[in-house]
């Protein structure tokens, strides 16, 4: 991707390869994605128009919204009949009952609901059926082109990532990785960051156990969340207005393997922070 970077070599299996720079490139010119569109094909067209070929080891980081749209994961709230539970929560939080019903359908558990006196509309913290804990079970109103429609997460974001990755690899002959992201709030810290919700080949975490620090001391618990580092970095360039949903990372040191964003979900019993 980036001619000046070291990313044109194969993804390395050597943890100690000493890469010194990373280039993050927005893929421009991707059209408005509609249900049924072939997202990988649209990315390839955009890259061709940019005259930017992909290279071995490049990682594509993709905002889930374009994946969800291509897969038709859009709900017309006018078609949703709220349950009694949805009506009750909607009243308490001053939210649209059809939206609350959609959140409930996407959730395996409501973690907390909250509405401050100064808020027009309250918030639902939910455990999404995929295990991610986030606001409104990731049901999102922004960047939808139709009034009264909301976007859901892809049905199986890991499968979506694998499918896009396979199509891009087949078309280019390069070994690639894909990370699909969503934007989450965080306990204890203000502001939003993008996190990984679907992975193809990119390891969720890099296990450094057994490696040593600069002084030869063994690193026991240093497990960087590589996929979330990539996701968070994507927020630097993916405009919040939704116009740059695909980025190419070149120069990242990584080793392809079978992976899943599910590895990033902390088992309930192990959550020391709850």
């Amino acid at each position: 991707m980036n001619q000046a970077s070291t990313a044109s070599s194969e993804p390395t299996t050597d943890q100690h390869t000493d890469r010194q720079s990373i280039h993050i490139q927005a893929v421009t010119g991707i059209p408005d994605i509609k249900p049924g569109d072939d997202l990988a094909a649209e990315i390839l067209i955009a890259l061709k128009n940019m005259q930017l070929p992909l290279a071995h080891g490049d990682i594509l980081v993709i905002a889930h919204k374009v994946v969800s749209k291509a897969e038709g994961q859009i709900v017309d709230l006018a078609t949703v009949t709220p349950s009694a539970e949805a009506l009750e929560i909607a009243k308490k939080l001053n939210k649209d009952p059809a939206k609350v019903e959609t959140v409930l359908r996407e959730s395996s558990q409501i973690v907390r609901t909250s509405k401050r006196a100064d808020q027009d509309e309250g918030l639902i913290i939910a455990k999404h059926r995929l295990g991610f804990i986030c606001a409104n079970a990731a049901v999102d109103e922004s960047n939808v082109d139709q009034q009264n429609h909301v976007i859901l997460l892809p049905k199986d974001p890991d499968a979506s990532a694998r499918s896009i990755c396979a199509a891009l690899e087949q078309a280019t002959g390069k070994k690639l990785g894909v990370v699909i992201t969503d934007t989450f709030g965080r306990p204890w810290r203000m502001g939003l960051v993008n996190v990984a919700i679907g992975l193809a080949k990119v390891p969720a975490k890099v296990d450094m156990a057994g490696e040593t620090d600069a002084y030869g001391r063994e690193l026991k618990v240093t497990v960087p969340a590589l996929a979330d580092e990539l996701a968070a970095a994507s927020g630097l360039l993916m405009s919040k207005e939704g116009k740059k949903p695909v980025l190419v990372f070149s120069g990242v040191q990584w080793t392809p393997r079978a992976s899943s964003a599910q590895e990033l979900i902390r088992p309930t019993g192990e959550d020391l922070f709850k």
Copy 2:
């Protein structure tokens, strides 16, 4: 920094400047930092040796360990007398009492202690005196060159960032930003990411309220944590072995302002995720 990027212009006050790429460069050749060293001077020497001049708008992301070391924020555990509370926690968690005492001295509150049967040593989740909630109040054993010594956070990481930023700006004549990071675990999600603990000029968050999405719908709650995006991205290149503690980000769209990592700490009463 990166000739191919668009970062050589002034940091912009126009939120809509459409930057398309970001380059992240590791600063190589920074020597082992000792108490009393001038970190900014060492960074400037390393950049000169690399023949990489800084440009307007570049942001330096720095692992706190080199800042802490330069400031002498190192504790010889042999000099620490554990309190009764430290002795009690140390026994319960099978931890070094002097280390627990150091954690207590750095903390304003112990959030939780935990030791699983399969763990040799337990964990303390603490609220650091600066407000950050993290493991062991950020008291760290790795990347210290002396046995039985631990590294603390800088006394005032925002002040450290401002001091380094001012020195770099004075030497180069460029308008720069500085982010000081530490590596934190996270509630609900596995793996570690770097977060911002000290800021100079780089906004903690970018308030998008009032901006519109791709379809003209107002973005009400989209507040990206820019400083944490930069910090998390730094984990992609800062080797966990501690040998690449300083990175230069070029091409980031940002507007300098007075800032503090304290803005990233969620007020206790507002923590919907706890």
